[in-house]
Subunit: 410 residues, 2 copies
């Protein structure tokens, strides 16, 4: 494959994770070290930064400072949720992108994000090919939701799973301290896929797991839920519930949004999240002391508790994207294939970006127990290796020392 | 002082912290090693365990296992919220305690808890003296609220403060990722004292602090609050708010409980916590995207992020309680005096248990800024040393390996 000389852009898009910046650093470090790559630009707020011509010159950053991106949560270059048009319908944005690419001689474009970002990436790749502009486009995956096509798992998931399982174990200790009844409901992210909620069950390996786990892959039945919880509570005096924010009734309506859900005992609109709602329903039904806890943003930005394996794999995904692009590849997302055998191992693999934009990889139904309130050993065996490895985040004053980039505009 | 031979009891009471077990371990380890102490019992669920005669024989535990208590959150022996009567009014409980003490030849009693626990401790001490039963009673402080009399600070506070400041810094990164408006309201524990809410400001030292902090030491004014937040939001497009769960209006009513607070725009009862409530008020007023986050139990059981200094000091408090009791002291709570000078240092000190039971040490008003929406440098200088030191919690399967005690009843 012929050598392609030119600048590269790395952009980040979608919701934050603890390790998305490790991937971006993988791209930036590898690109800065590659002789064919003449300049490394970070797009401010993803594709919006490209459209606005807001590009940070990464060569002006101190090497030690950009390396801190490995431990810095959220998207350090800024993110966006910009929905780009289909180029066959409206090519305005693409013309502008091409203009910027030409202006800066951009020949490599790396986009770091989830399903929507891969779709953006694919559209840009197709457009550049169509207009005959030589540019290699690679997707670098990230999502705590773990719902991307092709890849065994997604950078970001392992760290969120580790945060969730650790927090559940700690809350378990807290919730079992009195010899009085206590029910705890913990709400976990994952609107359509239950990978994160299922990860709560990992805490069971250290004896501090939830009693029941509810995933959005199966319909939620409020009566059955109340029976599950009440049975456990009546037997043990405690019950810990882990529930995905995305649980929904059989008619598809989210439990968190239903205004007058049958059986929930409330006839009026409720503010607050799902955990609060379920806690109130349980309280009304059982009279027990109930506490609802929402892990909220904490689970996706808890970099101090990131999985070191996840950090390393996130870096590897970014590095591989650059290496493969330099070899001539384009139009792919970098992902992982898990090696067979009892020891965990992965190899990187390239997955064509050309997939359904709305695809969401869900937890296989056979990994959910038949009572629909827990996950099987197969789920645990899948998720456990991904939370391994302790990270030692650099500190200053006893607090995380995140990257502080100069962000000099090109 | 004459030597007093006999057994000891250690009990834990009140809400969990990340390091209360480090104090209990300080007592247990030191007592097990003391020749005068003939047996070491852990009371199951505090004073309730004494009353029920439910005592764990700590000598049956493997030394390495009890040492894990240093990293195990919540009260490992179990806690209670039992309010003991005044012995001059009703001495039923005290007679039973004396009976148990005699049965097991208990000559040392250590009680690990907050203000209420110190009051219990004091009453038991007075009763034993009154009936002429020779028993040395010592209080070992714990509370994330940092509101105990006498002592410079309380074991448990530093770890909760570190958890809060770290989480705020991480959420800051998350909340600043898009170039769109975003207001974040983070609710922090502390019903009557603002030590924990004020600690949110520590995150400012790494450039990721809240814009405003509201403490319960001063009256909350909803109009001023909305003005503060709106002004910052209009200027920067973002606003991060840290607020104590205990903020209250000038009439003393909690903002979290007011059904129809003037100016909050709601005429109906609201479920959910203060963060959700304030987020909704702001949303209604500004139309901005607002997210409410409650740190909930996580902030008091996040042992993985404990301050190592706090763990060490908690241990020291327990150890000192035993050592001083062996020397003949009784009727005191162990606490800390901070040494003068620029380097942080403490010495242990004994504070008479004989204080007002309802005392709550609050943040000095001069440590709150004159706008009543932040803390001063004096607060930071006070709190910062307490969050220092990284702990490396033992892990198993990538998850915390907490103590697993056999809890053999004596």
């Amino acid at each position: 494959m012929e050598q392609l000389r030119g600048a590269c852009i790395i952009g980040q898009s979608g919701g934050p994770t603890s390790v998305i910046n490790s991937s971006a650093y993988g791209v930036i470090r590898t690109a800065l070290d590659a002789p064919e790559i003449t300049a490394v630009y970070g797009a401010a707020n993803g594709i919006q930064g490209v459209l606005a011509g807001r590009l940070y010159d990464m060569s002006t950053e101190a090497p030690a400072e950009i390396e801190l991106m490995k431990h810095t949560p959220s998207s350090e270059l800024g993110s966006c949720r910009y929905k780009i048009a289909d180029p066959d319908v409206d090519d305005t944005d693409y013309k502008r992108i091409l203009e910027v690419f030409k202006q800066y001689n951009v020949r490599y474009f790396f986009y770091n994000g989830g399903n929507d970002s891969m779709d953006t990436c694919n559209k840009i790749s197709r457009y550049m090919k169509k207009v005959g502009y030589d540019c290699r486009v690679m997707g670098v995956p990230k999502t705590i939701d773990n719902d991307l096509f092709g890849t065994d798992h997604c950078p970001g998931f392992g760290s969120a799973a580790k945060y969730i399982a650790t927090s559940i174990a700690e809350v378990y200790k807290d919730a079992h301290v009195y010899n009085t009844g206590m029910i705890t409901v913990i709400e976990i992210m994952g609107r359509h896929a239950g990978w994160l909620a299922g990860s709560a069950a990992l805490a069971g390996l250290v004896g501090c797991g939830p009693d029941v786990v509810y995933l959005p892959e199966v319909d939620f039945d409020m009566d059955q839920f109340l029976k599950d919880v009440t049975d456990i509570y009546n037997k043990t005096g405690k019950c810990m519930v882990a529930v995905s924010e995305g649980v929904h009734y059989a008619d598809g309506s989210f439990v968190s949004e239903a205004k007058t859900a049958a059986g929930d005992g409330f006839g009026h609109a409720q503010l607050g999240g799902l955990a609060t709602r379920l806690a109130n329903v349980i309280k009304e039904k059982t009279g027990a002391q109930v506490r609802g806890i929402e892990l909220s943003l904490l689970q996706r930005c808890g970099a101090h508790l990131a999985s070191q394996r996840d950090i390393d794999e996130a870096f590897l995904a970014g590095k591989t994207a650059v290496e493969e692009a330099l070899k001539g590849e384009s139009g792919y997302m970098v992902g992982f294939q898990r090696l067979a055998g009892s020891e965990y191992g992965v190899r990187t693999a390239l997955f064509p970006l050309e997939v359904e934009a709305n695809y969401e990889k869900k937890v296989p139904l056979e990994w959910i127990n038949k009572e629909h309130n827990g996950v099987t050993k197969e789920f645990i065996d899948y998720a456990l290796p991904l939370i391994q490895g302790e990270t030692y985040i650099p500190k200053e004053n006893g607090l995380p020392r995140f990257a502080r980039l100069k962000k000099v505009l090109a």
